[in-house]
Symmetry: none
Subunit: 135 residues, 4 copies
């Protein structure tokens, strides 16, 4: 089974950070494995505390379904998973799954910008690491 | 009191698994008793982690009302039960109650396919065991 | 990365079940992956409801540390993980990790017997599947 | 108010990572602000999932009291904070507070090694960034 390495997560975060610093927006970006557990993350100076948790929650939701977190409807399954995960599960736009050789290996989530910026930061990172957000 | 036996649960799961492997979809199927507690379950290779929890949560919801989980409206009672059970209660389509001699003895829930596949896997299992999804 | 397959989990459960039926004790046995999520489980007729949850909780604890759940002290880390996992994490004797080619791929937990029986059922299953409880 | 910057957190993590890779141990290290919220973290390849959560929980505990997490007794206040924070608060050895110009600005926590390694990784990082673990 393919996995997302720390070296790849660091490449993702470096590219996402460069993009965010260019925007000058207070954001966090989290990289999680296929189960939604953190591999690496950062929060830029001045970003609100919640962005750290929300970026991981969005990434966990994207990984749980292997789909962009923005595509997830607000339904009963999502609400149950949010409760099971103690709230650390956020089905809002801003995270994308990561695929390697066609296999879902994790996800990247942004928080603190607009929903579009959150997702663009994730995509920028994924592409910079030579990985894909689609199977 | 009639009960659902482990032998019956195993028949249900064997037939549901054959159906799922034929589809080639990453799913889980859970069989619960009338209280919603697990009797037996399986998750096929490659199925996402959440399918194990969601299949049981749907089955628990179906057993709690003696009705298909897809028939349950999103109301205050359902949301309270979801919170009481720590999220392990999912009122989404994909689970059916199981009746034996007209008595509700448990439920079967699927997760990981379309809502229709989840429910069809459950029905296939229930019928293969000579049981019924309706009183 | 090596993983525990459903076919292996079924071999584990078949051997554990034979052992338990021989004892005539009301028990459950759960097989989880390396993250603690269920792959398959069974609860024998007449076993108490809690054995389903506790067998999985013990297996999740064994997988989280790659050690027998009975070796885990009652300490702050364990209590935090128990809270994070909504209680589905049990550091009591009765579960063993599963190793394949030297890699931890999951765990097997029993509940409902004595602590020794719970652990013996797990070990019996692991060995019957040609796997190991130690690295 | 003095704060711990992302640049400093990255220096802390780089030095801690070098130390950990030298040991060859599967660990995570988290850097949090004075409120216990994540600034940055990493989990090395092969480290267990729980190390991500526990490293942050220990750092949050150290920051909450401005003391090494290993000095915190198991008392009612600690248990309440652990519950309030949904378990993401771990009073076990392995995290140290970070001081800048005599002010507590955050904390660093390790998980996955021995308690001594967890704390040494934190201290190595703090010193490499020119900061202090004591007021």
């Amino acid at each position: 089974m393919a996995t997302l390495t720390l070296a790849e997560a660091e490449q993702i975060l470096a590219a996402a950070k460069a993009k965010i610093l260019g925007w000058g927006v207070g954001m966090s970006v989290s990289v999680v494995d296929a189960r939604g557990d953190l591999i690496a993350m950062f929060r830029v100076d001045g970003a609100l505390w919640r962005t750290a948790l929300v970026s991981r929650g969005k990434a966990a939701a994207a990984a749980a379904f292997g789909r962009p977190s923005g595509d997830l409807a607000d339904n009963a399954v999502i609400r149950s998973l949010t409760t099971i995960e103690g709230g650390h599960f956020v089905p809002g736009k801003g995270a994308l799954p990561v695929f390697k050789d066609g296999q879902m290996v994790g996800a990247v989530g942004g928080s603190g910008g607009t929903a579009e910026q959150d997702e663009e930061a994730a995509l920028t990172g994924i592409q910079a690491a030579g990985l894909s957000a689609t199977a």
